[in-house]
Symmetry: C2
Subunit: 324 residues, 2 copies
């Protein structure tokens, strides 16, 4: 591969990313996620956080002031938007996903349509249409779109409104986060503003490697292997908690489940008890946006993380903590 | 190496960079460039442009409004600062380097003290002291500090004022630009503002590889090999032009030389003649900051770039273009 690589590959790369990778991704994303993607509208970034920071900076420089965010999500992502000068407005999330109607007046919205993080609900078709028709820019965080287990994958929202949606994906779930490799599919009118913010990206060699991996079919095989492994872990988690009479939700896709709890007190108690036993549990409280109503309690249980040999132990510890 | 790597290496990396690399760089930069560097004050970035963008964004968020820049330098770097919202003020460059005294009122200054890019002058000791005592923040672009040929290397300006100078270096000249690997040494009071802007960086694997390369002594050997190769190219360039009765300047260090010309007309004519012969020459005009006086004419001749087998041809073409 390297012997065939052009010399330019060792030079300062195109800030928008290696052409060969953008072509490979355009085909892959169209095929697997239904994304409407021209290689010229794809930019390569260094993972989702980088893509989000670049997007927020581009929106800010184009006059945007307010970003709507789901009431539950990563605090780190909200923080990045604020560092770029955007005000946040939380959107309630119900059984049909985020209430995009509440975003009126915001300039942009950050959504996880395929599998709300962390609650796990899929955006209802009616809400998807609302989001596609909404006047602002939607940033679609498709963090686990390839890891749907029980039904046909939900396609990307971007397909409904490629002129309004910035689609974001990474290899963090399919390969490893340490590669720091992700992509944005950007509406043409926002492309220059986004490109002006691009000063970092993965190494040219990593970009070429991923391009060849996709072109060879190896990336698809890796996704299938990972999906199977994650699904087995999910099934073991669900079965173990089922034996305790507990029911996890949000597990049609992804690498985490939610165990809803009747009240915040119980969430805090379980987290404290887990900590005493050397298990780090995270509650919904950690994901709640400031200003959002504290209407839910529960635990967010990631099952993608511990290496295979440690998973059985982690699961047994979790069950011991939850055992009443 | 990978078998000994901790599992965390595959996970989301510390945005400030891998601890092992920051420790290795602290030792290396102190030894080779005299930098006052604590590993906790080093942040890893994705090359100089990324480090500069992060620095400018951090300065802007801390209230800075104006960046002084050398009258000659990379337009791309000036553009990055402007994208981050900083106004530019050009500093004249004379035979002693940039006139830092003209930066009064600016909040920060971007300098190339060891080897002004592109003019090639080294900042005079008196000017270095002025820069160290100056009240604003100095961003020290040490792009070729390791490639000094004729005398002892000029140490980093940062050593004189570690509380005021942000030191920036990369592997772009010593290894390859495509690695997108660089570092900043940041005064403690600016560290949080810089860290808040860090959303991208090299992959954990690339960081570990460089750390091991430095620790093993391999990086030092690579620098020596590269310095020798660059020096040979420089000597061939200088000798070839000397045979034509021409004299290049700024060649005590680095990967480029300047051929000063009596007037801008001749600069333009030579560039046009070179283009007709398939040779891309760059004039000082391309590096001049808007608003700076057009007081010099000349060609900037990089000799680091063409692969070894093509260098002889490139040199012959250059001589043919310059032949009167």
């Amino acid at each position: 591969m390297l012997t065939a690589a052009p010399r330019q590959l060792l030079d300062y790369p195109d800030p928008r990313g290696l052409e060969q990778l953008r072509v490979a991704l355009a085909g892959y994303l169209a095929r697997v996620r239904g994304v409407v993607a021209d290689p010229g509208h794809i930019v390569i970034c260094a993972g989702f956080a980088h893509g989000l920071a670049v997007t927020c900076a581009a929106l800010r420089s184009s006059g945007a002031a307010t970003l709507a965010v789901e009431a539950y999500g990563h605090q780190a992502h909200r923080g990045l938007a604020q560092v770029q000068g955007l005000r946040l407005r939380p959107l309630p999330v119900d059984g049909h996903g985020a209430l995009i109607g509440d975003a009126a007046g915001a300039d942009a919205a950050l959504l996880t349509p395929a599998h709300q993080f962390p609650l796990g609900v899929t955006l209802h078709p009616q809400r998807r249409r609302e989001a596609a028709r909404w006047g602002g820019v939607v940033i679609e965080d498709d963090y686990d779109g390839e890891f749907r287990y029980d039904r046909q994958p939900v396609g990307a929202l971007q397909a409904l409104a490629p002129d309004h949606v910035i689609y974001a994906g990474t290899v963090s779930k399919s390969l490893v986060p340490a590669l720091r490799l992700g992509w944005l599919v950007v509406p043409p009118r926002l492309l220059d503003a986004v490109a002006a913010q691009l000063t970092a990206g993965p190494s040219g060699l990593d970009q070429l490697t991923l391009a060849e991996f996709i072109d060879s079919g190896g990336y698809d095989r890796q996704i299938r292997r990972a999906r199977l492994a994650y699904r087995r872990r999910r099934d073991r988690l669900a079965a173990a908690l089922h034996r305790q009479g507990r029911h996890v939700t949000g597990i049609a896709a992804g690498l985490h489940a939610v165990l809803e709890l009747p009240q915040a007190d119980i969430e805090r108690q379980l987290i404290a008890r887990a900590r005493q036993r050397g298990l780090a549990l995270v509650g919904l409280d950690s994901f709640r946006a400031p200003g959002a109503g504290a209407d839910r309690a529960g635990l967010v249980i990631g099952y993608g993380h511990p290496p295979e040999h440690a998973y059985t132990t982690a699961l047994a510890r979790l069950c011991a903590v939850l055992d009443r």
